[in-house]
């Protein structure tokens, strides 16, 4: 086995420990920035839904403010965002490199996208359901948790999957500017030292990772949609 690995990907084997470290870094970045972005994006998506003009607590000021911030950060290309945020990252975390330094730009890069996705998922909840719940005396928290979030679970799982997949892309870009992870491994040890096998393995790993996420996401979305609806869809 080892012999075979040495022949098909000699450089990966040679840099085995760095390779494993880079994998670990990618997972760390995914986990922490994913969790933080999930929380913030969900919150902002709910905030937009609630405060929009026909929302359950319309508030033009809050809506416009969040809307503007989201649009601005979505408009900045991620590579530019990375360097733009360096001073802020340094102030917040004490460092702008490594996994810790990458969290801030990753969250900033991911949240606006995720917020919009959450907003769209919640917008697909029929207004009639909200109205019925209001007629039954539900307050704002009842409407958010028992109707919006409850009914949108499959959609929320779908958009979270999409967001996580795009987050993988962001972590590899962050790798290019010193965050570590599989992206920087592919660039520093693969491309820069002309080890094509390293690049190839990184591509395969990422493909597997993306497919796995998609598979899990689809499965969960399917399981949370009620069965009869599903059988109708598949017909």
């Amino acid at each position: 086995m080892d012999e075979w690995l040495k022949t098909v990907m000699p450089n990966v084997v040679a840099y085995k420990s760095r390779f494993l470290t880079s994998l670990q870094q990618t997972f760390q970045m995914m986990l922490w920035s994913g969790l933080i972005a999930f929380a913030i994006g969900l919150l902002l998506g709910i905030l937009l839904t609630v405060t929009r003009k026909d929302g359950i607590r319309p508030n033009a000021i809050v809506y416009r403010l969040v809307d503007l911030v989201v649009n601005v950060f979505r408009a900045i290309p991620f590579v530019i965002l990375l360097i733009f945020l360096i001073p802020f990252t340094r102030w917040l975390t004490g460092t702008a490199i490594g996994v810790k330094g990458a969290l801030v730009p990753l969250v900033f890069g991911c949240v606006p996208f995720y917020t919009r996705q959450v907003e769209a998922a919640l917008a697909s909840v029929e207004p009639g359901k909200i109205e019925a719940a209001r007629a039954m005396g539900s307050g704002i928290f009842g409407l958010i948790f028992r109707v919006y979030l409850h009914e949108a679970v499959p959609d929320l799982i779908r958009v979270t999957t999409i967001t996580l997949i795009s987050l993988i892309g962001l972590t590899t870009m962050a790798g290019a500017v010193g965050a570590g992870g599989i992206g920087s491994f592919a660039i520093n040890y693969g491309q820069n030292q002309n080890h094509q096998d390293i690049v190839n393995v990184c591509v395969i790993i990422l493909l597997v990772f993306v497919s796995l996420l998609q598979l899990i996401g689809n499965g969960l979305a399917r399981r949370t949609t009620n069965h009869h609806l599903l059988s109708k869809e598949s017909k």
């Binding site: 029929e126 009639g128 359901k129 109205e131 019925a132 719940a133 209001r134 007629a135 039954m136 005396g137 539900s138 307050g139 009842g142 028992r146 109707v147 409850h150 009914e151 679970v153 499959p154 949370t224 949609t225 009620n226 069965h227 009869h228 609806l229 109708k232």
Partner: protein, 357 residues
């Protein structure tokens, strides 16, 4: 039970002012089935939403049971103290009024049980109490076997039954029905209307029902208000409105639910069925509760020696009281025909001359 006085509601969207409800006053008695009919955009949906404050009227007063509310600056306030309703009070008010909708508005990801339990959760009831109450409600709407089903597995009529059970979960005395049968096929419509009538009789439930179908009003309501352009243009006992509609719009609604409405088409087409010869009279006779039992037609043909050629006829039953309608051609001596018309009018038969030959 419900007293609405001088309610106004205006929506303004991008400079466009829509006066959805204008100066509407209504009284709905306890235990009554009250119909509000109008075309779409007439303001009936807005009006009914004012009752549970899904829409807050701009001005006016609403009394629901003992609670008197007056509207100030787009807020509902206690009429006595002038203090605005708190979130909690508003929530309690809404809980005391059930509501059902055209598209049922059930939670698709929840089972029938969970849908009906929705208004009972977080109210301090135990799991056992909730489960017992839901079973009671399922029995009430005759859906015991669908406890664990999802809405997508139910027919339209069954979904509306679930919605009715859910609306009644917190034991309201009032049920608002917003076009509840408009998305249903005729069989399901009939079964839902029967259910509503049973609930009205069994529980003494006051039902406010809005619809654009006069057939629904005819089947179930005791009183009806006709709305047009945000105003109530006609109001009264369903029987009286059917027997003697005053406004043009009411006449159209009544005609839409009557077998006699075909006459207009026949006349427009100049059908041989309604062709009159000189001296003939094409009339529409309405037999109300004062005259319906009488053998008026045979009486006039005997007394006045005229021939009565019946074109269309119908007998409706409105909550047990018959309402007859007849379209006929009178043929004979003009003076005798005139005598027959007077005789009918004296017997409390409404006579409307549609055409003189």
């Amino acid at each position: 039970m419900i007293e609405i006085s001088h309610i106004h509601k205006t929506f303004s969207e991008k400079g466009n002012r829509v006066e959805a409800v204008q100066d509407v006053s209504l009284h709905i008695a306890k235990g009554q089935i009250y119909g509000i009919i109008g075309n779409s955009g007439a303001g009936k949906s807005t009006l009914v939403r004012c009752l549970n404050l899904l829409e807050v009227p701009d001005s006016g007063e609403i009394r629901i049971g003992e609670q008197r509310l007056s509207m100030k600056n787009g807020r509902a306030c206690h009429a006595e103290t002038g203090a605005p309703l708190t979130e909690r009070e508003q929530s309690r008010l809404r809980r005391s009024i059930g509501m059902i909708f055209q598209h049922f508005n059930l939670l698709d990801r929840s089972t029938v049980f969970e849908n009906i339990a929705y208004p009972l959760r977080y109210t301090g009831m135990s799991r056992k109490e909730i489960s017992d109450r839901v079973d009671e409600l399922l029995a009430l709407v005759n859906l015991q076997d669908k406890r664990g089903a999802y809405p997508a597995q139910l027919s339209g009529g069954q979904k509306q039954r679930v919605a009715i059970a859910r609306a009644l979960a917190s034991r309201p005395q009032i049920l608002l029905s917003d076009e509840a049968t408009s998305a249903l096929d005729p069989d399901a419509t009939e079964s839902i209307l029967n259910l509503l009538r049973n609930l009205n009789e069994q529980l003494g439930l006051t039902i406010v029902l809005i619809t654009h179908e006069m057939a629904v009003i005819k089947t179930i309501a005791e009183r009806v208000a006709v709305m047009e352009n945000g105003r109530v243009v006609e109001e009264g006992e369903v029987y009286d409105v059917f027997a003697r509609p005053r406004e043009e719009i009411t006449k159209r609604f009544v005609a839409s639910a009557s077998a006699l409405s075909r006459i207009q088409k026949l006349m427009d087409e100049d059908s041989p069925m309604v062709r009159t010869r000189p001296g003939d009279l094409l009339v529409k006779l309405t037999f109300t509760r004062e005259s319906v039992g009488e053998a008026a037609i045979s009486a006039i043909s005997q007394k006045f020696g005229i021939a009565v050629n019946i074109v269309l006829a119908s007998v409706e039953e409105l909550r047990g009281v018959a309402l007859g309608g007849l379209i006929a051609i009178f043929t004979g001596d003009p003076a005798q025909i005139q005598g027959a018309v007077s005789y009918l009018e004296n017997s409390k038969v409404e006579v409307e001359v549609l055409r003189r030959g």
